[in-house]
Assembly symmetry: C2
Homo-oligomer: 330 residues x 2
């Protein structure tokens, strides 16, 4: 038998190399093969197959994602709350009265029990002091500057680097398949808009969230929007379908959440009597992330975990389903 | 001289035919050449030219359009108002008490003076009776069915056919150049969503408008959104920049309006110290449409006409600038 010419060897290499490359660049590479990954891929395959009974035309392929705990870390406290606490500290020198006024005194002394005791009224005052009294552009800039310097207490990384790599892959996979991806968050829309485009590829006009009042007025002769203290709309729980209807005006065909704040969005999305996708991210990984559900103060997942069984939503077991949790540092 | 072979004749025909075809299919074919058409084209050329000082990256190319009087006929009464009056008549048999209760009595008797006298309170009651008490899907379906049968009193055509052909061309031209086109209307967002995608190519998620309150609840065990009477947000005048910021989260770089209700949107868009476009459609054509401005009850254009000079907005003289007004009937 004669020796194969070298180009045949090269061809053989190419042939064996191709499937490997496909496997590496296929959809959802950070997901382990299992029911969760399969459910997402099966759904997308079904609704995008022309002629299928489940086919959904491209303009109606709307997917909504909760932010905190679904796309972004939310432990030990919500990122937006960490921002607010840091802002109180930065602004404190201009407010000497805060040293003996709650809830600011509690923040400055790191007294979380006193802060919790200040309750709803305390939160409103902290929001007013840290989120209002400026234009939306100024607020977004403040958030960006904070993100550039603040570090997560456990992981030591920028908060907006602590996004879930497997979920970024879901966003990309859906968009490749003609979906429009939106955020529907209980957090502030302006806060999320400060990093959503860069981190998630989701532009400001596709971020639905809670809002504080905003007023139009001329300042120094220039037309200006100005953020005012009162909270105007809470996009959480039953507010999520309301906010989605207000700003998107279509019922999503896929929704992704991780807590009871997503219950109504998931129900409204999936109980349409058609092929729909509901996904609940279950934080089960204390080692690479956090493990929490029914008893957690932040991101409590109780009713929505029970509903997942009844309504046949896909529950992502983070520990089992995800190969990696966060993007690799650059 | 020998006769040209026939293929040369064909070629000659093609050569003379090509420039004609280009002229016919170039941008804004229903616009007469003049300052308004030139201003739109010059702006788009400037902000899309890579390397230009005026260049705007594609994600930031946001254009907002008023609806009534800018994209759609608004005389002799707003289309949404015509819908509400017709709905009162349709629903009257279920409400015998309306025969002697204002403002319904006025509507049923066609007594416009009494209707006007019922004022703001009267309008609120008509909105409650005709726009609330159903799901958003049911409301949109009601609007679609009404549009299919109602006819404009003067032109005898479907109301949603009485859209401005030259403005449809502006929408298409902007989209071809990487713009995202939005509606920012004082009218109800749900009303406009019933026809915006089909007529303007603007999907529901790109319609910003006024809103009535909407509540999430389970009805017969099914998750449902339900429209409630109170008006929740008026997206008009100073409300337009507020609504645009809420739902789009970016300041537009081009805005199109036709009345004082668009003044603040135009100011906020154009006073950014950069290359921006403000356009005011001036209804000057009593023959093919209507002629109205400073004294009109519907679509009053007074302050915004003065501001157009100061702020260098482009004023479209409908009679002079538009070759055709409405799309040709199919």
């Amino acid at each position: 038998m004669r020796a194969r010419p070298s180009w045949l060897g090269t061809l053989a290499l190419l042939v064996t190399w191709i499937p490997v490359a496909v496997a590496q660049t296929g959809p959802l590479p950070s997901w382990n093969d299992g029911p969760a990954k399969q459910a997402v891929i099966a759904f997308v395959t079904d609704v995008t197959r022309e002629g299928s009974l489940d086919f959904v035309p491209e303009p109606e392929r709307i997917a909504t994602f909760d932010n905190d705990g679904t796309l972004l870390i939310e432990q030990p406290i919500y990122v937006q709350f960490a921002f607010a606490l840091d802002r109180v500290k930065v602004l404190a020198p201009q407010h000497p009265e805060w040293r003996d006024t709650q809830p600011f005194e509690a923040v400055l002394e790191g007294n979380m029990a006193a802060l919790a005791a200040a309750g709803e009224k305390g939160s409103v005052e902290i929001v007013a002091a840290t989120h209002a009294g400026m234009t939306p552009e100024e607020f977004r800039q403040t958030v960006k500057e904070w993100l550039a310097t603040a570090r997560h207490p456990r992981f030591g990384r920028r908060y907006d680097e602590l996004v879930y790599q497997p979920m970024l892959e879901v966003l990309a996979y859906l968009r490749t398949n003609g979906f429009k991806t939106f955020i529907a968050s209980g957090g502030g829309a302006e806060f999320i808009r400060a990093f959503a485009e860069e981190r998630y590829g989701i532009p400001p006009e596709q971020v639905v969230g809670s809002r504080i009042a905003t007023k139009y007025e001329r300042r120094d002769g220039r037309p200006t929007l100005f953020r005012l203290p009162p909270v105007d709309f809470i996009d959480d729980g039953p507010g999520k379908p309301v906010g989605i209807n207000q700003e998107i005006g279509r019922r999503p065909i896929a929704a992704f959440g991780n807590s009871d704040g997503d219950l109504e969005m998931l129900q409204w999305t999936t109980e349409a009597g058609k092929r729909r996708l509901g996904v609940v991210v279950h934080h089960t990984d204390a080692e690479r992330g956090y493990a929490y559900d029914r008893q957690s103060h932040v991101g409590k997942l109780d009713k929505a975990l029970d509903a997942a069984t009844v309504d046949r939503w896909t529950v992502v077991d983070m520990k089992r389903d995800w190969k990696t949790v966060f993007p690799i540092s650059p």
